[in-house]
Subunit: 371 residues, 4 copies
């Protein structure tokens, strides 16, 4: 039996181990096996790596051992007998929300929030490995010209695109606040720039990440550690003719950030609720922020399958969007602990971390990224 | 100088007085004067009548004396020299949100939430009088076949239509929770029924109002005084295949009602935030109710000018919608105190109260309403 | 080997034959076998029955023999090993557009118009039989309370709903012209009525069908055989304040009907292009009908999967919509020739014809329909 | 009485004359007088200059003499007594569609296509003059940083934005064909690029204009004089994975161009019908282009008031969009005949021509434009 290297969560405590595991077969007849070329670390992986209360309740120790990871680019090496679209050799990335065909939301066009939806690397073994298996239906065929480190980060880039575009994609020529230092906030700045948001105001607090936001195309910036909510509100009003922004992207989940967004959005504007609140219920200015303003709030979770994938592929292929400034670190998969250390470090000194099972792919990526 | 009867808020305390005032002239060259045929009492009028803290801060005692009232049907008796659309004899109702043409929201199609918007009966003398003056631009030409008591309540009926339809009007064949006993909740039940909402679940607590909701067409009902939130949630899940409703209309503003709506809406569903929270900030289940569900919240305030007026006129003219069960009481304007007493009485024994300056109009209405 | 009765197109000429065929097995591992309870005749079946030029080019004589039929209600009697949602005993109807998961349109939410889409009864053996096989993914679970003759006609009812609602479903309180005598036009009248279209103007030419349109809820009607286009235009303008209708449903495909719809729709209105033109290219008043008016045209083909199914199930279950007046004739499957004769007869003396493999089901339906 | 220079259409034949006319006063109490800083020549002006059959029927010789022109940037020098938003000194451009407040379309949010809409320079004296008068309500306040030659061309730039965005503005990351050599086609290329259309395929036939399209940001191009429709279709399919483009902008009005767009749009895609057909009715591939594909066609006429103005102002102010490559020629107003000669010349050697009443403004513009 052939084996592979895989990063396995073994015990319900901080950390993970590199193990030799059997190369998987398709889990079902309509699943495929993918050879991983690049895989990137998501905040969810960090939660599991740390084994915080969310991991304990969402995954549970009975599920262990389990392979981590869900952001990926790779090559199909085996297809189940019932697969219809993919063939060996296809270069794919993964929509990690394995939607259930029987969910009402799936049937009505929102598969990404279904009741029975499962997640790669959370409900199944993930892709921090040389090989992994997943359903054909969540594989997205990549443009071969897209390098693996970029193909891998399309999953969070899709979150960013969905957050920016909201449910109606009506953002052209509008003004926008984007909050947060995380990779998805930074990607959102880039997407917003690419799709014609005309004034992008970024709120962050870490130097490196704020610098990346500038590279990604924000027009104005404030450091939330150095300003009060009142100052930020006045700043936004000053730069929007006193109206507030058309659209506010809440991507932090803190009380301050939610308060900022509810205060800064203009009447009849839109708030994207993307950040997960540290505590929920959370007090919000229900009257002034929603009712009296006549605002819309769009709760955004995951990606529109496959709408955001299609748009992002086109934006990448057309050279409209370069997400690589957000990729701050690349390592071999063998060095996964270095990657997690980077992700966990505070104050933040990183944004997106990509891992390569193959040393040569890693070197090639370093070269492409100019690092 | 000719005079008229008018219900005037004189002092910053409970009550109002009938006074003789001069019949107004058009306040500006593009305003008209209207002879009132029917006028109805809104919750806002009750706030002012009671002179609660909202009235003190929103209107202020310096504005007194001021004529109350803003829901109306009447006949144009004088047009300012700069009016272009209306002529003497036209039968109109009033959009009471006097939008400002220079507000960004007005320029972008949402005049009803503009920064400089003023309100009839709040920022100016209102229509609880034999005559009043208002801008031509907020006059809506009525179908002559609509009786004045119905024409008058088109303003809150428009709130109801906007709340039901939300910003995208996509409700046909969907399921909906509607909360509250007030006239706008009851109108919303009727509008929802008329526009093809396929399952309407009403939550109320007063017998009379719940009976009216049934007459207006709800399919299922729960009394919030006799049930827990958990029971209501289970009831809704039972009647929606376990999914929750497509759309939840929050029209009460209480913590319980907001909690109900956030819990009962299905994934990728829509919440209408119409009710004004008794206290704001208000804790909401931000994560489970918005983010993870991928819901939309539409803050609804006022009416879409004149989209909801157009739809409602058509629904009324086509016999699709009969709002008269909500009109529980009619009085002459001289009896305005009886009307306010009805509105203030708790437990509620009324829904909508209509006042007629003319005794004969009042008698005719009583006859039409079968009272 | 067990056999069944099936209506088979044998030769490329008028007609079809009842034959004994083996009861099918699931065609693939994710297909099911359904025992047919009711099946209804579509215009497409009539084309194939007649073997007109469309049939010759679309199906081709090489495909023969082939079982006809695609509108159906039945019971699942066998599920392929790879099915996930359905089980034996489930009561289903069929979305007959077997979409391809790899089509871009499928991936972007419009599976019903994909390049590789196949159709039951056109590209495969159909359901004019005691049993047939189809993919699990196009099965729609019916409400058990819906009788089979109604469940069967949900497929064309879905066309009607999609035509009425268009791509944005914004029809509440609007005015609409609906053209044509066919079942889908008549269903459209019923759907329009159910979803709050406030003034429905129907154009037909056959007495029986126009009578059914009135039963389904149209407000006004004109006979296109007895009126000129100019008269119809004036009639529509007279009943819409001179503006024209908000929405015009072209469901005939004739030059006159297309001209009517382009002329009658108001500025900034919407035309549904549903009828297939007898000849295409077809001259249209491009400037006055589209450009200068700023209209939208929505080409409608099939059903929104499964959006229209969901809405219609709710409308039927909630008693908002009764499509049975459109069912003019029921026969046993053995009498299929009588059914086709009814469909072919001109002047039209029928609308929808339903066939039942089982004599008792047929009798029960006759009783329910009061025939 | 003070006089001014104005370009006047005097006789119903080719040409126009510079005349001395009285400086106008506000035509009504809610109109203003504007001192023209820059004005640009539209195709409509050329029609009137040539006095073609459209001019004869639309304007009529009884209206002569009349001042030409409607694209403009200028300074308010007098406000009618009933104006509310503007003051002397404001720097404005003109929405030239003077909508009627009583039109149903105005009341429902589409004022630009109202029945009683009038047009500056067509129904009234225009702006090819040192001063002109227009309603305050169609004045758009410019950002002072926008130079007058750019502020003037915002009107056709708004057409372009509306054509690109359509009614739903959902274009981010999509593919688009844009047809035509005229200024609005070229502006559309620039807008499409600015708002994130990911692949822009331009069809033109004049070298200079095709070069400008490349400067404005198209990705691919074909010369319609040198290719067949079949070749263009194959080219588009080759560059869109065989699907066709998401959106096709028909901006020419020729049979070939309309045929191209109907053929090239993908299933469930969108066609913008902007070009006015040389002859209407026009044959279109109704079945394959609309019905079977399930496409939408958006007839686009004018600008969304003031939605497109707002977006464009933001795009210009944010440096997202530089329309100046389309401005090929600038002249003083005194040289208006040179401007019209440029516009009429075929093969085309120009795109947008801007005229300046003031010689110094003209020189400054030349310098800014690097000409």
């Amino acid at each position: 039996m052939e084996t592979m290297k895989a990063v396995v969560k073994v015990k319900p405590e901080l950390g993970a181990e590199m193990q030799d595991l059997p190369i998987p077969k398709p889990a079902r007849a309509d699943w495929v096996v993918v050879k991983v070329r690049a895989t990137s670390i998501c905040g969810t992986d960090v939660h599991i790596y740390k084994w915080d209360p969310w991991s304990e309740s969402r995954i549970g120790r009975k599920a262990l051992p389990q392979v981590l990871g869900h952001e990926v680019a790779g090559e199909v090496v085996e297809v189940g007998v019932h697969c219809t679209r993919l063939k060996v050799g296809d270069y794919i990335s993964a929509e990690t929300h394995i939607y259930d065909d029987g969910d009402l939301t799936t049937m009505l066009g929102s598969p990404h929030v279904g009741t029975h939806m499962r997640i790669v690397g959370v409900d199944y073994d993930g892709c921090f490995a040389e090989y992994f298996t997943l359903p054909e239906k969540v594989c997205w065929p990549n443009d071969p010209a897209i390098p693996p480190e970029v193909a891998s980060i399309q999953e969070p880039l899709g979150n960013a695109a969905y957050a920016v575009l909201g449910e109606d994609a009506d953002v052209a020529g509008k003004t926008m606040v984007i909050t947060g230092d995380g990779p998805i906030s930074l990607f959102a700045v880039g997407v917003a720039r690419a799709v014609g948001v005309a004034k992008i105001i970024h709120f962050g607090k870490y130097d490196l990440n704020m610098e990346i936001a500038r590279k990604m195309g924000c027009d104005l910036q404030m450091n939330t550690n150095e300003t009060t909510g009142k100052e930020r509100l006045e700043f936004v009003l000053d730069h929007t003719g006193g109206n507030g922004v058309d659209i506010a992207l809440e991507m932090v989940g803190s009380q301050n950030s939610v308060d900022d967004c509810f205060a800064m959005v203009r009447k009849a504007g839109r708030i994207t609720a993307f950040g997960i609140a540290a505590e929920s219920p959370l007090p919000v200015d229900y009257n002034n922020g929603i009712v009296f303003k006549g605002c819309q709030i769009h709760g955004i979770n995951g990606r529109k399958i496959f709408d955001t994938w299609y748009r992002n592929r086109n934006l990448l292929a057309g050279g409209r969007l370069d997400p690589t400034p957000v990729i701050t670190n690349v390592f071999t998969l063998a060095d996964f602990k270095a990657g997690f250390d980077k992700m966990i470090e505070r104050p933040r000194k990183s944004a997106k971390v990509v891992l390569f099972p193959d040393e040569k792919e890693c070197q090639a990526a370093l070269k492409r990224l100019g690092k």
